[in-house]
Amino acid sequence: MTGVLTTPAPTALTSVVAGRTRRRRRWALITGILALLVVVVFSLSLMLGQTAYSPAEVWGVLTGQRVPGASFTVGELRLPRAVTGLFTGLCFGMGGVVFQSMLRNALASPDVIGINTGASAAAVIGIVVFGLGETTVSFLAMAAALAAALAIYLLAYRNGGSGARLILVGIGVAAMCQAVVSYVIARAAEYDLPAAMRWITGNLNDATWDRALPVLVAVLVLGPVLLALAGRLEILRMGDDTAAAVGLPVERSRVLLIVTAVGLLAFGTAAAGPIAFVSFLAGPIAVRLLGPVGSPVLPAGLVGALLVLVADFCAQYAFGTRLPVGVITGVLGAPYLIYLLVRSSRTGGTTL
């Protein structure tokens, strides 16, 4: 080892600066490409369908002009649907990767460990039993998701728990909430069924502005908060002790991250139902694309939005009948879940 800590060797300094610049550029490049893809897919989902409209016509609708035919189809049907898809995707992607990073395990996704299902159960009860409106249901779903997160945390962390135990407890909680959903739907009046069915797989087929607005506001409010916390999440990934040693208030940061992420997940779930496996897939895909550079929170959100928009488009037009979007994402996610479970039983871990 060379002498101590005076001026750094020029080569070391150059490589530090070059490495940092390269990583920052790569993050910006990948995130930029993902954002561009989201814009493209969002625009296409407004233009294409049973009837295709030109970009000029869609732009006309967006800027508030009256375009015969397009004003209704695009303005009242496709736009709220695409907006709901875009923002729920952002919610699921950003919220999911927080849990996966914090627990250093791709299986610790909120749709696997019962946080989304908790929101579903509360929402179904709200709709079917109490006949509540959209916004009230959103907040109820948020409260239930927080309660589910807290319950999982307490059950898993008595006596100092491990990530694996938390995931197993979470899967149990998810199954329990799923049972509640099935029970309530089985007892529901027939006219409540369409609204309640959305809570089984996740569905954008009945998207309306009423449902799009809460999730849009949630992303605009909680999204920036979560991005501001992303640096803390990166520090937390080094383990609690190291994070505390470099001066991060560990418990407070963890609570802030969880509450913000759960908020996003709950509003996403309230808008479109628990679209299967979007959280679960978005984080790992974003991390693979990025490599180990910078925070995966925003890229995961963009991947989530892409997944929902593309899957919803396929669900609408690829099969002759309109499927719920959750069917498509479920088909994509299930093999990956099986792959991770097989790999984790072999290696004992499934880091993100």
Binding site: T2, L5, P8, S15, R20, E234, M238, V246, G247
Partner: protein, 275 residues
């Protein structure tokens, strides 16, 4: 350059849940010196180090940094003064060496202030000092155990604190890298006046590098002070339950422990010559 910091534990009681590991213990880390803490497995030395670094809140007593309770000071402010290398830190998957070391700069960055060239310089100095600058762009998880350990030490160095606590910094290292790391910490102490306190397993290296040696058993301090006075056959027996010979190290004159196992009786010098 370095400000001398006092770090004192006053009657601290430490434990996890209901299990008490350390009961009302006092400890002073002498400023500007190298302190090593030795003891058997599970004697509470790592627990004590964690408490000294405010990672564990004592159920009674307090830890004072510069005379003020360390748990009452803003944690980021403490992190600019006191650094800790925990026993098993976790490197995020695939992270590059210089990226990991950069995280040691976290306490020096405010909520709004950006990364500056001073931060770059601190990271480069730390990489240089630990001899890992040539690995700057490599992923940490592809490195050997010894290289990885030096990267973690680089992260702690990049924090540029006046006090540095390390929990077994030489684990996973072969003997030459152990000496490298300890020499580096000794340099840091001598050239910058950094107060170093570390838990070490190797008694002989602990005695060689320490200005102040602390021997612990069952959550209590058995002896503390100059290594020559502390490291005796009696201390080794009380701390480890092991019979030994302690002789002056032929190189440094510091005490050197030679363990006696069940299979080796003590050879008298004249017998040894005839063999």
């Amino acid at each position: 350059m370095t400000v001398e910091r006092s770090l004192v534990a006053e009657g601290v009681t430490l434990g996890y849940g209901d299990r008490t590991i350390v009961d009302s213990l006092d400890l002073q880390i002498p400023p500007g010196k190298v302190t090593t803490i030795v003891g058997a497995n599970a004697c509470g030395k790592s627990t004590l180090l964690k408490a000294m670094a405010r990672l564990l809140t004592p159920s009674a007593g307090q830890v004072l940094l510069d005379g003020k309770s360390i748990h009452r000071q803003p944690t980021k402010q403490v992190a600019r003064v006191l650094g800790l290398l925990p026993q098993s830190p976790i490197a995020p998957d695939g992270i590059a060496v210089s990226d990991l070391v950069s995280r040691g700069r976290h306490p020096h960055q405010g909520a709004l202030s950006r990364w500056t060239s001073a931060d770059d310089a601190a990271v480069a100095r730390a990489l240089d000092a630990t001899d890992v600058a040539h690995l700057a762009d490599r992923p940490v998880d592809e490195l050997s155990g010894g290289q990885r350990q030096r990267v973690w030490i680089a992260m702690a160095l990049a924090q540029e604190t006046d006090v540095l606590l390390l929990d077994e910094p030489t684990t996973f290292l072969d003997i030459s890298h152990q000496i490298d790391v300890l020499d580096l910490l000794a340099d840091l102490n001598r050239d910058r006046g950094t107060t170093v306190a570390m838990v070490l397993h190797d008694l002989n290296l602990a005695a060689r590098y320490a200005d102040h040696l602390v021997a612990m058993a069952q959550g209590e301090i058995i002896a503390a002070g100059d290594p020559a006075a502390v490291l005796t056959e009696g201390t080794v027996r009380r701390v480890f339950g092991l019979d030994s010979r302690v002789v002056p190290d032929p190189l440094t004159g510091r005490p050197m422990v030679i363990p006696i196992g069940r299979h080796h009786t003590v050879a008298e010098p004249e017998q040894a010559q005839t063999v």
